[in-house]
Symmetry: C2
Subunit: 107 residues, 2 copies
DNA sequence: GTAATATGCAACTAATTGGTTGCATGTCAA
DNA sequence: TTGACATGCAACCAATTAGTTGCATATTAC
């Protein structure tokens, strides 16, 4: 599961909204997820496919229905491996910024 | 600073690479950031503009040079407000997944 | 002033993306 | 088996995006 796929999956507001809805109620069908999205079923399908490819959503067939489940692991890997890196040195970066902005004001 | 702009800014590998390089050495000029990016200066400029619009990078002129600084605040806001939400209920979501996958195997 | 350096602006192209419509397939219920 | 329901597939369109080239502007050095 490439980190790039996860980042791109999260880039679209419609897809983040789908994740939010699965977060609120896990295991929804495609039909249920289409409601209130303001786009056609096929458009929603494509968004869900991107989320599946990023492994952020996992699916399972139940008869003629397709159930969608949130997989929080890749998102947390991003948080740990990428954002965590920035978090660890956030104070230093902010100090850099502050120093620079102060220099800007004082001359 | 819209959260959507930050997500989209992070979606491109070239832009994440630029952030990584600023993380390694803060306050670099456009010219310095162009090195080893494998694209023209104008392409790098466009990426940096997107990062600026997302407020993930802050700039300052020094004579004819433009210095670029990492601003870790928006990224940490995403971590806190969005990823944090998933993190808090990660165990529950993983339990849902596990249960579902087990049901898949057993019948 | 003139040349070199550092960046900015604009037009253009190619690829990707978000969305559509139309039709096909598979499953459940009567 | 027939009809209704849930999803899948494919072609197509419009908008956005990543990148290019060419030229303009501003600063520094001589």
């Amino acid at each position: 599961m490439s980190m790039d796929a996860v980042f791109r999956a999260l880039a679209d507001p419609a897809r983040r909204r789908l994740l939010d809805r699965l977060y609120g109620r896990n295991g929804q069908t495609l039909g249920a997820l289409c409601a209130e999205m303001g786009m056609t079923r096929q458009a929603v399908t494509k968004h869900l496919l991107l989320l599946e490819e990023a492994n952020v959503v996992v699916t399972q067939r139940r008869g003629r229905e397709k159930l969608h489940f949130l997989n929080p692991v890749p998102i947390n890997e991003i948080a740990d491996r990428w954002i965590g890196k920035y978090e660890r040195h956030r104070v230093r970066a902010l100090a850099d910024l502050k120093k620079q902005l102060e220099g800007k004001n004082d001359g």
